[in-house]
């Protein structure tokens, strides 16, 4: 009884691990590219949140740009109009 139970748990976790490995190491470029695109979309929203928050706290465009590692013009062009 116990052994059978153990065996099936073992198989379950093996299946899970195999699934995970397949997903992580998948050679299908679509999966990787889709993840990058999703990450980029998420990044855009996160950046907007942080820039908005900094502006609300009185940060200058120069200060924000320095933290983001981009030029002041780039930040201002992207968010300045708002």
């Amino acid at each position: 009884m116990v052994d059978i139970f153990r065996a099936s748990t073992y198989i379950d976790s093996m299946t899970e691990a195999t699934d995970l490995a397949e997903r992580a190491g998948d050679r299908d470029p679509r999966i990787g590219l889709r993840a990058v695109a999703a990450l980029r979309r998420l990044l855009e929203q996160l950046e907007a949140v942080q820039v908005r928050s900094a502006r609300n706290q009185g940060w200058s465009w120069q200060e924000i740009a320095a933290e983001l590692g981009v030029s002041r013009q780039a930040v201002h062009k992207k968010y300045g109009r708002q």
């Binding site: 993840a35 990450l39 979309r41």
Partner: protein
């Protein structure tokens, strides 16, 4: 291009602008076009949506759209892709909301929440949707762009609206089969 739009299709575009204004948004998005399509009574798109079972499920659609907006406008497919990298989108959303308030990741917010009055602009996605509806009309040999072409274009494009529609059984193939009697024309 708009001169090719039928009265129904124009009503959808105008309706989308209205949804955008009422939601306080600055940009007309594909989701606004979906909501405007759901408003329609009569017409080919309304017929398709009702036939495929979307009638009376507007609340569910609106909830799904709102949920996706809260997650930065990312689709479930996006969330799955991120999970594949070990990134938990839900966790990120909840942390950002903890620090910056509920709905902080919602796209299209303006600084300080002040939005300017005046004309609404269409996002690139919404513009692409309109031109895709033209291509789809041509591909089906239709001379005018009706609201059914807008619906078909919505289902053909990756993104939140098509994902939400597909959750309710409204897919490209289903719409095409219903309205044009066959599946087979490639999504333009």
């Amino acid at each position: 291009m708009f001169e090719r739009f039928t009265k129904d299709a124009r009503a959808v575009v105008v309706g989308a602008v209205g949804h955008c204004e009422r939601s306080g948004g600055e940009w007309v998005e594909e989701a606004h076009l979906l909501l405007a399509l759901l408003d329609r009574e009569g017409g080919r798109a309304a017929f398709a949506l009702a036939s495929l079972g979307l009638e009376g499920r507007r609340d569910a659609v609106e909830r799904s759209l709102a949920e996706a907006r809260r997650c930065g406008g990312l689709t479930r497919a996006d969330a799955d892709a991120l999970a594949g990298l070990g990134i938990d989108l839900t966790e990120i959303v909840s942390r950002v909301e903890e620090a910056h308030g509920e709905g902080a990741l919602t796209p299209g917010r303006t600084a300080g929440g002040v939005r300017r009055p005046g004309r609404r602009l269409f996002t690139r996605g919404a513009k692409d949707l309109l031109s895709q509806s033209l291509r789809l009309a041509l591909a089906h040999g239709d001379r005018h762009i009706g609201d059914e072409h807008l619906l078909l274009a919505l289902t053909a494009r990756p993104g939140v609206p098509s994902e939400v529609l597909a959750d309710h059984g409204v897919t490209y193939a289903a719409v095409e089969r219903l309205l044009w009697g066959q599946a087979g024309t490639k999504a333009g």
